[in-house]
Symmetry: C2
Subunit: 659 residues, 2 copies
């Protein structure tokens, strides 16, 4: 049965959970279909993640490979498409705990960067799993800065081959997924040399393991990079190459080619490469970043109405911890952020799809904006969601620290998103560079993309708000965000110009402004997130109370942002300290309002118990029983205790220790 404290929360919902779920999902039909697919997968024991928290790295890897292979079989049996909705739903319910995901990136890179002949040769082999691919770009010594890669590919005209080498230890490929123990082939990035001249980084298809017995090919040293904070299921690998030869035809050559005599030919635009990165950054957000925050909120909020601790009112029963203002202040802003980021994700996908259409029409104008947005939002969403998951974990006290709560794994996994697909600081500075350019253009009266026109229109002013309810008017808080972002960008630009004019070299001036530029880029993305939330709420159906509760969440997200970054807003002059008191009061007033709907708001995320995999977060709220059941299943209680016989018994019965 459901814990009565949790059940009573659901009875009090001010809106229809079903309708909200459908609205988040893109319709009730999709929800229904997703549930059917998820149920089929979750009932299959191969896909069970029940013992995940007890497994070693080797066990996790083996289970992930088993799942990947079994899923291929299932996809063939069911006639699903590899990129279809069903497979998407399955990935959602497996939470990425599956091997061979880099095989898809291997295929994507061949289809994007390969010539027609290369596609015709390699894609059928990959699609039918006669080979398993990986994607080897990052090296021990180089990540985000691709130009610095040190692996070399020297053209040997005599044999019509490239000779690949790892000239020093820092040039070893390091981190590629599926490479450590699984892949037979890889797309390897290396500096191309022809007749002694370097042509920069190019991709080569390389066989790394035998198709007979899986042993490394001659000249290849390959293995797993060892233990990580999470991703135990993935065999991230290293690769060392000593005079490994590949035929001339193995350099991916949609955009450039080395001809038999060594002539280097380049054609087509290189810009499209950015587009692939942009697409990966956007696609990662929903599954790997926003959904984990939604899960963490679900776990922490359900637990916080089951857990009772200490007395709020003397003489009464102990209070649900969610009734404490401090607990609300921890969790409810994370809940609001999960919704805010879900909506910004939709916004980014629309922006991306429009850009993609333009590109198909050979119009590359939207690429800079798309690149700047995907970089900046990847950075702020991963950062916010990572810190949100940590807050949820800590808000569950000691039990949040048990792996059985599900929270530690969410945290140790999501924190990687701040690093992979571009380190966040580097990305934010790319966004900042775009913003500074737009600001300069706007100042010179030149046209800029619609998303940044506010840079020229924002004028200093004073907020007209007179009482705390005025701050529930989006016009007032949006204006505050706009002013603040615009001021941070313009003042960074001014500092930059000032330094350059006073004789500091441009690269050094840029470096001296980066702390402020990073802040400005964050402020811009924060502003756009609030703006998009406001616009989303306006467009929502007002049926069944959904618009109303979403408006509360939007207000909370906006006001929490002001409350937490008071300095940036006060500095601006648009808001005074008297306004800050109103913002604070209005923000704190919202907490108990949203608290009433907190459980229905996480129920609407519609996670199954199996995908949450949490003793604290299950739908029935039987947290203590589930913790106990989990403990009893742990290997620490399943085997005897060899330490007793070996060390404790002799100690307890040591003659020296006798009285």
């Amino acid at each position: 049965g459901v814990n009565p404290d949790l059940a009573s929360e659901r009875l009090a919902a001010s809106f229809s959970v079903e309708l909200l779920t459908a609205s988040l999902d893109g319709g009730a039909e999709r929800t229904r279909m997703r549930r059917a697919v998820v149920e089929a997968i979750e009932n299959d024991p191969v896909f069970s993640q029940e013992n995940q928290y007890f497994q070693s790295q080797n066990e996790r890897y083996e289970a992930a490979v088993k799942r990947a292979v079994y899923l291929q079989k299932k996809i063939r049996e069911m006639g699903w498409s590899e990129t279809g909705t069903e497979v998407q739903y399955i990935y959602r319910c497996l939470s990425g705990d599956i091997a061979l995901s880099l095989h898809r990136v291997f295929m994507r890179s061949i289809s994007v960067l390969g010539s027609d002949e290369q596609i015709a040769k390699w894609m059928p082999l990959a699609t039918s799993y006669q080979i398993i691919g990986s994607y080897a770009q990052t090296e021990l010594g180089h990540g985000t800065y691709l130009q610095g890669l040190e692996t070399t590919a020297v053209f040997d005209a005599a044999t019509q081959e490239f000779i690949l080498n790892t000239p020093k230890i820092s040039a070893m490929k390091w981190w590629p997924g599926d490479m450590g123990r699984s892949a037979t082939h890889s797309v390897v990035f290396a500096q191309l040399y022809v007749h002694g001249k370097c042509y920069g980084v190019h991709p080569f298809i390389l066989q790394i393991r035998s198709l007979q017995d899986h042993s490394p090919r001659p000249g290849v040293t390959v293995g797993d990079i060892g233990p990580k904070m999470n991703f135990q299921h993935a065999d991230n690998g290293f690769l060392r190459l000593q005079n490994v030869r590949v035929p001339r035809e193995n350099m991916l050559s949609k955009f450039c080619e080395v001809q038999p005599d060594g002539t280097y030919v380049r054609w087509g635009s290189q810009k499209i490469n950015y587009f692939t990165m942009t697409s990966v950054r956007i696609s990662v957000l929903s599954d790997e970043v926003i959904r984990p925050l939604m899960k963490a909120c679900t776990i922490a909020i359900r637990y916080s109405v089951v857990r009772r601790q200490s007395k709020l009112k003397p003489g009464e029963q102990e209070a649900k911890i969610l009734d404490y203002q401090t607990q609300q202040q921890k969790l409810l802003p994370q809940l609001a952020a999960a919704y805010a980021f879900h909506f910004i994700n939709t916004y980014l996908h629309e922006l991306f799809n429009r850009g993609y259409q333009d590109i198909q029409g050979k119009n590359f104008d939207s690429l800079p904006e798309l690149h700047a947005f995907s970089s900046g939002f990847k950075a702020i969403v991963t950062q916010h969601c990572t810190s949100g998951v940590e807050i949820c974990l800590r808000a569950c006290g000691g039990h949040g620290y048990s792996l059985l709560s599900g929270l530690p794994s969410l945290y140790t996994k999501i924190i990687a998103s701040c690093i992979y697909e571009g380190e966040n600081t580097v990305l934010l500075l790319q966004t900042a560079r775009f913003l500074i350019k737009c600001f300069m253009a706007a100042s010179a009266g030149q046209p800029v993309p619609p998303s940044v026109t506010y840079l020229s229109s924002a004028k200093p002013g004073k907020c007209p708000a007179k009482n705390k309810s005025d701050f529930l008017n989006p016009e007032f808080y949006l204006k505050a965000y706009e002013q603040m972002a615009s001021r941070l960008i313009s003042s960074s630009a001014a500092k930059l110009q000032h330094l350059i004019q006073s004789g500091v070299e441009e690269y050094e001036a840029w470096n001296q402004c980066t702390v402020q530029l990073e802040r400005a880029a964050k402020a811009h993305c924060h502003y756009i997130t609030v703006k998009n939330f406001v616009e989303t709420v306006e467009k929502l159906d007002n049926k069944a109370g959904i618009q109303k509760i979403m408006k509360h969440l939007c207000d909370l997200f906006a006001l929490h942002g002001i409350f937490s970054n008071m300095g940036d807003f006060l500095y601006d002059g648009y808001l005074t300290t008297a306004h800050m008191d109103l913002v604070t009061a209005s923000y704190l007033d919202l907490l108990p309002v949203i608290r009433k709907d907190a459980v229905p708001l996480v129920d609407a995320f519609d996670f199954t118990d199996k995908s949450l995999n949490s003793a604290l977060g299950s739908y029935d709220g039987q947290v203590y029983q589930r913790l106990y059941d989990g403990a009893r299943r742990s290997p620490t209680n399943q085997q005897g205790n060899p330490a007793y016989g070996k060390y404790l018994k002799p100690l307890l019965q040591n003659k020296l220790s006798k009285l």
Copy 2:
């Protein structure tokens, strides 16, 4: 050999690393002695932590028990004292990766709470390890709120025994260290009932396992609570009791007793119980909280001068990442905080020792201040250090995410310190309660402890600073902190009073102020930390440039605090936006100054490579070679790949998949 990029940093030191180490250690003699002890332990293979990152929970536990038992033997052989300096050094170098640490808490609780007869009976048994003890307070359903514990102890006058029970699942003991698999005895806290009347929570000595074969005693269900985010070496346990009887003499009875006829007698002060908690909170900071931050700084800063990435100046070699302003802004404030907290730790120990002397003279006046300070500083130091370690981890990019870097383990362990020994929010609100009381007393002209006299003396004013160098004057920034803390406390008090006067019940008014009260308590502790740093620097010897570099760190710590909490300072009115520009400029100017000495400043923490256990942080800076060596030693490369034969081979050679 040492990596030349790292070696060159050391040549440029502006101060003597040896002298700074000695000054942090309490003298060169102590440093010398510590090094000798640490070396002896580290060279003993039993104490090697080399394979820690590859071990399962069971393996970690077994190794930790082995170490604990072996250490006992060593202590006896060497004739060391269990509480002596040598043993302290050994614990420092083992980083807590050792079992039976709760045995000490078991003994401490008997010696503090037990009668003379109880001490005479139990202490020799414990000291000679004829029994192994644990300390069972926390339950599944109750942590910080001790009054809510549900385990019962009912007095049976007929048999002169207490009958202990776990009446429901939430009453099960949960988390006690060493209980899951090791302990034979435990101090168990339970609600005492005599003749149907409840007398509140009392401690009982209970045997939980047989001394013959270690099996659970009748009525006892005991085991390990399963996987955790870290602390795999510790067998945190659960304990379920069904009509377990202990003799009347087993209730610890220094302060109260149940007499044979059931008469309950209490004598002595209960306040001394707080003192034990205070002592634990303070003692945990140095080893479990500040030192991990120092280690994380050592790892991240050494790595940041070895790692070169991207070009700062076109045409030049790639730059050391520590030369980027954004990297300095991440790491150097953490370094300054590590020093700030090292010094506040000394301050707290002095406060504690003075309080202890008072108490021995039966003067309990300093208890409230001590309790408030130990609570507040426990909270802010654990919070700052946890977030500092996370920043260091992320600042190392992908390699920071490898367990081999040492950073993930530091993080997953230190985050527990925000929860154990009192949840931070609960603790900060206790500090706030003390501050509000002091504020009210001061307002009424009553005397208050010296540390909070500023609450009555702070008067609104304007900062007289005119240029950025003025903010290197501690007088100016201290005044800003003082005003800010004082204003946050007085305005929380005003809100509280206003609510109560307008008819809100006191408990509800308190709840409605807790977000602001928590902020006020943090501000107070932050102010005291800055003040103590300033005073420490003033007292430092100016020999060999130490005072100068410490002054820089102190300035950085103070200005970073203002830069990061701009809102609280601007709100106050003491600093204007023009001042904020000066603070920002002064703060950013300090970064490159401290950056020059960053490596010597972490070298001075004087960690051995073995205790850092980090491929990125070793003294020689051979990061890539060490990552590679670590990967090769990983179990993922030591055994074959059963997943190949079972799943990949059939997939690759599947007839269905043939073209």
